[in-house]
Assembly symmetry: C2
Amino acid sequence: MSKKIPTRLYLAEDEMPKNWFNLRACMAQKPDPILHPGTLKPAVAEDLYPVFCKECVKQELDDTTLLIPIPEGLQEFYRAYRPAPLIRAYFLEKALGTPAEIYYKFEGTNTSGSHKLNSAAAQAYYAKEEGLTSLTTETGAGQWGSAMAMACAFFGLDLKVYMVKVSSQQKPYRRALIETYGAHLIPSPSDTTESGRAILAQNPETGGSLGCAISEAIETAVKTDKCRYVLGSVLNHVLLHQSVIGQETKLAMDKYGVKPDIIIGCAGGGSNLGGLIAPFMSDKLAGKSKTRFIAVEPASCPSFTRGRYAYDFGDTAKTTPLLRMYTLGSGYIPSANHAGGLRYHGMNSTLSKLYKDGYLEARSVVQTDVFDAAVRFAKIEGILPAPESSHAIKAAIDEALECKKTGEKKTILFGLTGTGYFDMSAYISYNDKTMSDAVPTDAELAKGFAGIPDIPANK
Amino acid sequence: MSKKIPTRLYLAEDEMPKNWFNLRACMAQKPDPILHPGTLKPAVAEDLYPVFCKECVKQELDDTTLLIPIPEGLQEFYRAYRPAPLIRAYFLEKALGTPAEIYYKFEGTNTSGSHKLNSAAAQAYYAKEEGLTSLTTETGAGQWGSAMAMACAFFGLDLKVYMVKVSSQQKPYRRALIETYGAHLIPSPSDTTESGRAILAQNPETGGSLGCAISEAIETAVKTDKCRYVLGSVLNHVLLHQSVIGQETKLAMDKYGVKPDIIIGCAGGGSNLGGLIAPFMSDKLAGKSKTRFIAVEPASCPSFTRGRYAYDFGDTAKTTPLLRMYTLGSGYIPSANHAGGLRYHGMNSTLSKLYKDGYLEARSVVQTDVFDAAVRFAKIEGILPAPESSHAIKAAIDEALECKKTGEKKTILFGLTGTGYFDMSAYISYNDKTMSDAVPTDAELAKGFAGIPDIPANK
């Protein structure tokens, strides 16, 4: 405890995780199984093979193996940009005048700009190992598409990225980044797939949504030889890959004898939050810690705080298996919100179970409050955060200010998932005061809920 | 030597430099002194005080003190983003199939996106310590403006940034970044200064130049109470601040017993190159090493390779003191070149002297070759480089391929000064194949040379 804590805590290269940490293996009450949408029975590996790489399917269905080895070839790639720094927010603590100690794990030091590369690399690696030649995916804000483009360039795979049309128009530079890494980018909905054409026929002017881009990417993967689909969040194997975040963080904190009282993460599909909390939540589930865990989501897309806990589809076209999760309905299209990466109707099933069972808290925040926190943070700590990450910053500042009121010296940890360099149009609208804080009405949410499947498990 | 070299070499926080390393103190043959433009006699501190902070003036004129302490308050700021990683380019070596070992010092992990923050922070720190309340500066590509905006936000100073007009139009997101950090941005030439109005009267359609923006920034600083001007390159105190780059690099290499045979840096005004080579050049000047040093500049702005070694002004309006340097003439406006940060007519006087005396080599490269190297590097090493930095990448790859031919196992070090996240329009023009490789004709250069002052020292 007396050891001086540096501003940036880097692990040595040989301290990086050799295994992924499977949080589900620590849970006495497991998340509910994935259901086959036709039979409504628990999905088996064969149901998922046409869509996903085999190793990812295996990981998706494995809720008992605690440690799953990270292949050496993938560890090698991780060494190109990891370990990521754990930063002690000395400047922020001082500026807030709080007795709290604040730490953040910064995942934005790679070119894709976020933690997404951790799972992108894993999925590209397995695809290559399994003899595939191409992959398809979707991207909203563009961080996942950038990460997949980088990973596919490195491992030598072709990549088709279906990018939510409104994002591809608002973010020409994000698109250029993805294309510079050699990926083929298609604004979605497009006329290249049946699901895209169906959506366009219904609503020719639509700007698209993540759910719709997912439908297109899956359709293309299934119809293309030696091709599979990859997803950047929501699924359990993605959270598994992201456990490198939490493991690095815990080891670095353990080395300095630091124990977090509160852990905060932004939550869209849940991959960052799930990866960050994994080893800490394991301690809590084992009764070894009383750490609080807080998921922060946008008020415009409040799956935890206003959603239903139900089996639902992952995509708009209702082609995916059914996941039991907090959901706003797969047809829910959130109002335009610059935190594009958090605009997803559902939430990872493991996190949903933990929230349902009271191990995880959630709160929602409106956009201008998020950007207030983001700009304040940028000026004090130097890093310009991604809008998504800034949801966690907002909550961390609130908790630190609460400590200032009460005089408590809590230790707060949050995930800074990425940088905002490709989100400057959002910052411009904040600077110009043209940013809106639209929140869905109950009636708008009810329309989304109406699309949740009417099946026995949901009764 | 047998110690396994990690991919990313980070120093510990307490290993970061406590002093700046003044390369001029190691030179038996000093760079020629700055001249007062009126008297043509060596400038004294009082001549420079109206424009620059006192401590910077002192450092500018000091060519004998080897180690100059870095104030503790500034070291604290550096700890927010330093030490910067020294990266062993294992992936690039393998992809090239070269026996060479390649290392690069990566300065792009801070939000300003480049090494510029090292000097920006120093200059803002001194300004604050001296009781100033505001600063002015210019920016071309925008890296320096971003760095100054970050530094001024942190140290609590107002900042006016004169941004080359064509850059401010081509780079709305770079502009937004600078404004998000609270700086006041003025496209240059503007009607806010006499020099700006004069340039506009001559050429109302001009897109501006760095030299012209410098004139405006200096004029405003001189006319404003408690305000000074700051410059991001060219001057010796800027190179002094950048010596943190070279010192960190040398210490990290020494720890692993690595000695570079070749050190490569891109060169615009020279601050990155000067900072990177400082402690290594000291060894060479002392006869302790035979390291080769290579400056790489754009063929469109070839001050080393096609310029004159002469006393010249630093700005278009000819208001600065005279510097003896390799110059294309202060009126030279390079053709549009996306490597905006290297579009300056002159070169730091210390580097100019070292080049003149044969300690430093120089070469120029055309733009599409630079982007070929940049995209190749991005796909292999993961990092999307700034166009400026990519000049060094191009030369490093060439040297590594030369080693492949000869079978020599040389150790190559280059400076990766920054990221290209705010240069996507340049990448788009590369991807679209609309990028040009314009190189000035002798007649175009002659026009620039004609503007070099006709003074005795230049005979």
